[in-house]
Amino acid sequence: MDSTGTLWLPPGHSTFASDVDFLFYVIAYLSLAFFVIVTVGSLYLAFRYRNKGKRELTSGIAHNVPLEVTWTLIPTILVFVIFVWGFKDYLKMHVSPKNAIEVKVSGQKWFWSFEYPGGVTEVNTLTVPVGKPVSLLMSSQDVIHSFFVPAFRTKMDVLPNRYTRLWFEATAEGEYDIYCTEYCGKGHSEMLGKVLVLKEQDYNNWLSEAAAASSSLSLEEYGEQLYRTKACITCHSVDGTANQGPTWKGIFGKTEKLADGSNVTIDENYIRESILNPMAKITAGYQPIMPTFQGILNDRDIDALIAYIKTLE
């Protein structure tokens, strides 16, 4: 839901915004109530019982069980409610819908680049359709960055050694600020971008025009090329036959049993780890013989292989 912005919070334009803002104000008003009790209470008592010029014996009351139970129990109950409420909303931010448009985000000193399905790339502008969930698969080329869109009330760190994910659904067309919120050096405060939210039709038109204009290979096509040129094909089939290594056909999203008996779900981070550190998690029934591709494949190469594997349903 949209809000036009308040004294405290900026206008909100994602499906998360109204929930976050509402809870923020619930806590703010509760805090205000307690703050008034503490401040007015202490100032009132201090003036009411101020020293009148002579020293004297004072009250020895040092306990009052009902009072002490009250001021322990009420805050405990309140923070428990707030905890559950905050966690519930946080969960929503972490489960991206299946039908989300996936955009690959790459942070580096000091700009953002975005790669859309079909291989279109943009720098510092993220173009998305209104009313559609968009899921960002993010990684960094150098140090840690953090992707923050205040209008969407969402933020996630962007790491150099693994993928993180963030999703949102914009609720209004417009242009919204992207900030980097993890300190990354000299240009940290210039690492800015915009989210451009368009009508779905306009987005589709923009995407197909941009794709036609781009002559380069898509990420998936590039991945298929790497599959052959980097010799993955020697051990991994794409048609379901088991060679020295597991087949890639339909592997993405599957839960595999490992040699040590545990289970793992094949996701972006698992594939990345298996390329860079193949000995970490060996699939049950296979020998630990794969060499590391650390230093042979760069991040874009790994992204491309993952994109290719995803197409092998």
Binding site: F34, V38, S42, S59, D89, T181, G185, E190, N277
Partner: protein, 546 residues
């Protein structure tokens, strides 16, 4: 007329050398005091320069690189050289053995060694100023801290050495509190300041080694490329964040717990009132110390840590808030049917209640998972920790300084000027930091050299507040130094306190007490005893004749 004892720890023995090789806890505490005050000033100057640069968007007078070094220096100096040693090593060192009725701490040589380690650690910081100060932020996050060309190793070594200084103090205090209490001074007759220092010391001893190990690993990573944090070598930069906060979150309580101890003293003594809820306050210090080890992940809700971990850390974070809340309610209740004197220390205690409450409530906001996603790494966080660290710890420290100043020097500062200064600091602080909550919630990220025009007014407003705050500290430095030489003699017990430090002379004898004190009453028995105080007698007489 009140006299100052001719021979006291300040002038017996004489000479610079007698100070540099002293084992006297009071002298070591004072040397710490001058050290931390120097670095408070230095860190403050960097803060002023930052606020000056941030007065307008864009470049005002320093480059982005310099700005990054300045905010790193401001944070690192304030944390490692000022606020962590401030209350325990300076005030605690002087007051703790006095409150216990002891001649000294348990290990006086270790105490002196800890001060020298502090000085050596500080020298690494000073040297790094020349060698190209680190620009990593005080948090040293990898991989940035591995890649930057600035003097991370030198600063890291400084922090490592300062860590040992902190461990020595903590160890010393634990043993001192266990073994050197005067006859009759049972655990539940201890002043609450001692309980605060005890809980602090436990954290110092248990948590500080972790930052030492972490910094050694960081230095090895830079020097030898061991590949533990560097992703290019298969390391994990987020692991560094876990290690770092495993120390640095408990360290927040190293900073605030002794401050809370001071507030218990101030409110009880200056309200002439038995403290309300002695045991809940004492136990909540230990409770906070325990839970403080289990909440570090709340600094990492957006770092990509698992949702389950975030849930656990959020839950525990809320429950570390409860003991703090209990303390606040007990302090307020202590005012009920007391006899409150609006002395300078009392004004600081009341300021603390207001500012620390704001810091605490905004902590609840930040502990809430869904809201923290929006607020993390914005000015809202900056404002929150300044309300806790400055509005809490520093205000408590100032209250403690004004409370024990006449005990340490035997002389009183000008109370009228001190009260006005307290007001200037309170107003300046709120002008500086309150509106940072607002720009933070609106989305202004922290550690930004430049910002959009939309935030201009608030930034300029903050900068003006910072200069007012700075003015307050300059006035304070002047009247405190003046009082050392020209202050009115204060006598043994100017405030009419009941804990043991008020039974000896001001300044105390080199050996603290002429005979071993025997404890016959609790530290807060104002319902049974009206303490003797020559200073209060004079005030009452002056009031009566007026």
């Amino acid at each position: 007329m009140i006299a100052i004892p001719e021979k006291n720890f300040l002038n017996e023995p004489r000479g610079l050398k007698s100070w540099l090789v002293t084992y006297d806890h009071k002298r070591i505490g004072l040397m710490y005091f001058f050290g931390i005050m120097f670095f408070f000033m230095l860190g403050g100057i960097f803060a002023m320069l930052l606020r000056l640069e941030l007065f307008n968007p864009g470049k005002d007078f320093i480059e982005a690189d310099t700005y990054n070094q300045f905010f790193t220096l401001h944070g690192a100096i304030m944390i490692f050289l000022f606020i962590i040693p401030s209350i325990p090593a300076a005030l605690g060192n002087i007051i703790l053995p006095l409150q216990l009725g002891a001649k000294d701490v348990a290990f006086p040589k270790l105490n002196l060694a800890s001060w020298y380690l502090y000085v050596i650690g500080a020298m690494f910081f000073i040297a790094s100023l020349v060698a190209g100060a680190a620009d990593t932020g005080w948090t040293f996050y990898t991989p940035y801290s591995i890649q930057t060309s600035t003097a991370v190793i030198m600063t890291g070594t400084g922090v490592f050495i300062l860590g040992f200084s902190s461990i020595f103090t903590g160890l010393n205090f634990i043993v001192t509190i266990h073994k050197l209490r005067a006859p009759g001074l049972t655990w539940f007759k201890l002043p609450l300041f001692v309980w605060g220092l005890y809980a602090t010391a436990i954290i110092q001893v248990l948590a500080t080694p972790v930052i030492g190990i972490t910094l050694v690993l960081l230095i090895l990573e830079r020097v030898a490329g061991i590949g533990i944090f560097d992703p290019a070598l298969g390391g994990d930069p987020v692991l560094f964040q876990h290690f770092f906060w495993f120390y640095s979150h408990p360290a927040v309580y190293i900073m605030i717990l002794p401050g809370m101890g001071i507030i218990s003293e101030l409110i009880s003594v200056h309200a002439t009132r038995k403290i309300f809820g002695y045991k809940p306050i004492a136990y909540s210090s230990l409770g906070i110390a325990l839970i403080s080890f289990l909440v570090w992940g709340h600094h990492m809700f957006t770092s990509g840590q698992s949702v389950f971990a975030a849930m656990v850390f959020s839950f525990l974070t809320f429950f570390v808030g409860i003991p703090s809340g209990i303390k606040v309610f007990n302090w307020v209740a202590t005012l009920y049917k007391g006899s409150i004197r609006f002395t300078t220390p009392m004004l600081y205690a009341l300021s603390f209640l207001i500012l620390f409450s704001i810091g605490g409530f905004t902590g609840i906001v930040l502990g809430t998972l869904s809201i923290d996603v929006h607020l993390h790494d914005t000015y809202f966080v900056v404002a929150h920790f300044h309300y806790v660290m400055m509005g809490g710890t520093v205000i408590a420290l100032l209250g403690g300084i004004h409370h024990w100043w006449p005990k340490i020097w035997g002389r009183m500062y000008n109370e009228t000027i001190a009260k006005i200064t307290c007001g200037i600091i309170f107003v300046g602080f709120n002008i500086t930091f309150f509106n940072q909550f607002i720009i933070g919630a609106k989305g202004m990220p922290r550690r930004y050299y430049d910002y959009s025009e939309a935030f201009h007014f608030n930034h300029a407003f903050s900068s003006i507040g910072a200069w007012l705050l700075g003015l307050g500290f300059v006035i304070m430095a002047i009247y405190l130094v003046h009082s050392i030489f020209k202050g009115k003699p204060a006598g043994d017990n100017p405030w009419g306190g009941l804990s043991l430090e008020w039974e000896t002379t001001s300044p105390p004898d080199p050996h603290n007490f002429h005979s071993i004190p025997v404890v016959e009453h609790g530290p807060y028995d104002y319902d049974k005893i009206i303490p003797k105080s020559a200073y209060q007698d004079e005030l009452e007489k002056a009031k009566a004749t007026a």
